[in-house]
């Protein structure tokens, strides 16, 4: 029954899809870790990235231009949303934050539906990344290999930002103790705005990178959001390394399970989450 070639293929596939999940989850987790806001509009920002990229691609015909414009656009949207809406909710109860971001997600999805309709749209992979690459044990779409590369690079950039810059230092300190950071005279408000923007940027970037693989619809972010929650819970809330490890674990679980019985792949993901919650409630890399 077990075919080793297939098993290796699925392991590899899990790594690629897990990396993308890790990137989206990283955005979700740094926003929650720093701002304390569980951003339920994160899936909508991911979707918005896909559409922004689609519009840019229609206008320019260039995938790289689509990637750059779309990412910056969603980052900007994130900053605007933080300034005009989210920041008024930092001191409100959790339920209010959940409601406002949930509502925001619905508004964004429906606005896009009004503008573009429900029919799927797609952005083709760039010509240099179309086709198939033989990897010995497996043939694999070239574009997905490219995705793995650019997602790894994006995660690397996020890592540098969080661990090698002053902003990153403040963010990480903020995750540990926001009051203390404030008391030290650091402008935590500006940091919050940037963090929300960076989180949105990551989601938007992932949305465009994903568009050639999964056709975009206004609802494309819905399922991704759920999977990202699982990733964040497994990895540990607020933990950047946790998001990466959690993303890859989730990708592997879904991919490898599907080899035996595809209908269990989603179930196994939630089972893994439940297991983590029982054994280590703070998540694999969580601290509290």
């Amino acid at each position: 029954m077990l075919n080793w070639g297939n098993f290796l293929s699925q392991l590899f596939n899990g790594l690629v899809s897990g990396a993308l999940l890790a990137l989206i989850s990283a955005g979700l987790t740094i926003i929650y870790g720093t701002l304390g806001v569980l951003n339920l509009a994160h899936g909508a920002l991911f979707m918005l990235g896909g559409y922004a990229g689609f519009v840019a691609f229609q206008a320019t015909g260039s995938f790289v231009a689509a990637l750059v414009c779309g990412t910056l656009f969603v980052g900007l949207v994130g900053i605007v949303l933080e300034r005009v809406l989210i920041r008024y909710f930092y001191d409100r109860p959790d339920e209010d934050q959940i409601l406002v971001t949930f509502g925001l997600g619905i508004v964004l999805v429906e606005l896009v539906r009004v503008a573009f309709g429900s029919l799927t749209q797609s952005v083709p992979p760039p010509a240099w990344a179309a086709g198939i690459t033989p990897l010995g044990f497996i043939i694999y779409p070239t574009y997905r290999l490219v995705v793995f590369g650019i997602v790894a690079a994006a995660l690397g950039a996020l890592y540098l930002l969080l661990y090698k810059t002053r902003l990153g230092l403040v963010v990480r300190a903020g995750i540990e103790d926001a009051t203390m950071v404030d008391a030290l005279g650091i402008n935590i408000q500006r940091t919050f705005m940037l963090v929300f923007g960076i989180g949105a940027l990551a989601a938007g970037f992932a949305g465009i990178v994903n568009a050639p693989i999964i056709s975009i619809t206004p609802n494309v972010g819905d399922d991704i959001l759920i999977e990202c929650f699982v990733v964040v819970v497994i990895g540990g809330v607020g933990s950047f390394p946790g998001a990466i490890v959690g993303g890859i674990i989730a990708g592997e679980i879904m991919s490898v399970t599907s080899m035996f019985d595809p209908s269990y792949s989603a179930v196994m993901l939630f089972a893994a989450m439940a297991l983590v919650l029982v054994a280590r409630p703070q998540g694999l890399f969580g601290t509290r």
Binding site: S118, S122, P125, I132, M259, P262
Partner: protein, 448 residues
């Protein structure tokens, strides 16, 4: 206004009979139909939903999620039919000859709700239509999971339900109910229609891999397709069950790539079909396997591009070029494209015909009293003229006996217009491609 309104005053059967008898004299001078209605006890939304100047149709379709595009198209077809009823359009009169305007002289109104292709949401919407709007009929579905849920709700509430798109054998099989009538083709009839074409065109010695949505629709299409194709000599090498709305098919496609199959039978529908076909192309599967779509999703060729659909065989409930053969079909295609600016897909057609056939049944019954309407549906009379030619209902399982279209994707270069995606290979008559009415365990239940 009429005796109907006395319901709240605690009518007993005896007093109803007495007052009915008393009104009989008056009734001779008024509309005879109104006085006959006095003989029927309240049931479901009768008489409340039919006592005013209008009757309400609850349109319950997915407008978001995986099946949103097909749902929106279906809604348009239903609304066009309602518009045609209210204006007394010749097309609807051809299908329902007793129709003048509206239904039984009442204007038809409607409301629409988004059921998101989720059974629980569909049931909530329908319940609201039934209790608050006093709907006399609820119509619409794209997912069979919602259709079977509404079948049972309709039976409980004693309000008619008409599925729009529903491909599962269960809808008029084990989950059939007395209050539900399905117009469209389904797993068994689709498979019986397409497999002979596949055996002839692709050969008998083929190895098939299936990509199947993991719910009643996918399961029954898989069952019917394997039954017919294996009998014809095909081997089934793998069945990959994917959840409804799965965005990433790579894991399933890798299993199929390693299965040794040379035919990919893709049962996916809506966005699932779009994503899985595009990804199959990216994995190189479509270069070494022949793609077959046994239950073709609306707008598929438009979304995946004709390049990927050229040469692909599928079945559909309706394809607009059939208008060249059938004048009523052409009238429908013309009216629809004039109003909405594109050629109708099959969800729209199914919705339109369902409303027309409902009007025909109510007009035949002469009342909205549900058991009488059901009797009219079940009377076995053939509907001589429709957008599909002659059709008729099977009383035993409430399935419409109707032709199935086997189509083949066109190359981009061969398309004569923007919407000219398919050639009609064959229009297979309905009688020969249906199972015995009880083969899938249909027990209709009572009308009262």
């Amino acid at each position: 206004m009429t005796h109907h309104d006395k319901k709240g005053a605690g009518l007993t059967r005896r007093s109803a009979l007495l007052s009915g008898a008393g009104l009989l004299g008056a009734g001779m001078f008024s509309l005879p139909r109104m006085s006959f209605a006095a003989d029927y006890p309240p049931l479901g939304n009768f008489p409340d939903g039919a006592s005013g100047d209008s009757v309400f149709v609850g349109i319950d379709v997915p407008l978001t999620g995986t099946y949103a595009d097909a749902g929106a198209d279906e809604q348009k077809g239903i609304e066009l039919a309602i518009e045609h009823l209210n204006s007394g359009d010749p097309l609807i009169k051809a299908i329902s000859p007793k129709t003048s305007t509206g239904i039984l002289g009442k204007k038809v109104t409607s409301g629409v709700a988004d059921e998101q292709a989720k059974a629980n949401v569909a049931v909530q919407n329908a319940t609201q239509f039934i209790t608050q709007n006093k709907a006399m009929v609820v119509i619409g579905s794209v997912s069979s999971a919602t259709a079977v849920a509404l079948n049972h709700l309709a039976q409980d509430k004693k309000v008619l339900y008409l599925p729009g798109i529903s491909g599962s054998n269960d809808t008029t099989g084990k989950d059939c109910t007395r209050y539900s009538f399905r117009e469209c083709h389904y797993a068994y009839s689709a498979s019986a229609a397409i497999v002979p074409v596949l055996l002839k065109e692709l050969g008998k010695d083929r190895k098939a891999a299936y990509l199947t949505p993991d719910y009643t629709y996918g399961h029954t299409v898989y069952d019917s397709m394997t039954k017919f194709s294996e009998a014809g000599g095909w081997k089934t090498v793998t069945n990959q069950l994917a959840p409804l709305g799965a965005p990433d098919y790579s894991a399933f496609l890798l299993n199929i790539a390693n299965s040794g199959a040379d035919v990919l039978v893709n049962i996916g529908f809506g966005n699932d079909a779009v994503n899985s076909i595009k990804q199959a192309k990216q994995f190189g599967l479509l270069d070494k396997m022949t793609l077959v779509m046994p239950y073709l999703s609306p707008f598929l060729a438009k979304q995946v591009t004709p390049d990927l659909m050229a040469g692909v065989y599928g079945t559909t409930e309706f394809w607009w070029t059939y208008g060249e053969k059938d004048p009523l079909a052409q009238q429908f295609v013309d009216a629809f494209s004039k109003k909405y600016g594109y050629k109708p897909e099959w969800g729209a057609h199914a919705g339109y015909l369902q409303i027309a056939l409902w009007a025909n049944a109510v007009e035949t019954a002469g009342t909205f009293y549900p058991p009488e309407v059901i009797k009219a549906y079940e009377n076995g009379e053939h509907i001589k003229n429709s957008t599909l030619g002659e059709v008729w209902w099977r009383a035993a399982d409430h399935q419409l006996v109707r032709p199935v279209f086997v189509v083949k994707g066109k190359k981009k270069a061969d398309m004569k217009s923007d919407d000219d995606y398919y050639d009609i290979v064959e229009v297979v008559p309905g009688e020969g491609i249906m199972q015995a009415p009880d083969a899938f365990g249909c027990k209709l239940g009572d009308a009262t």
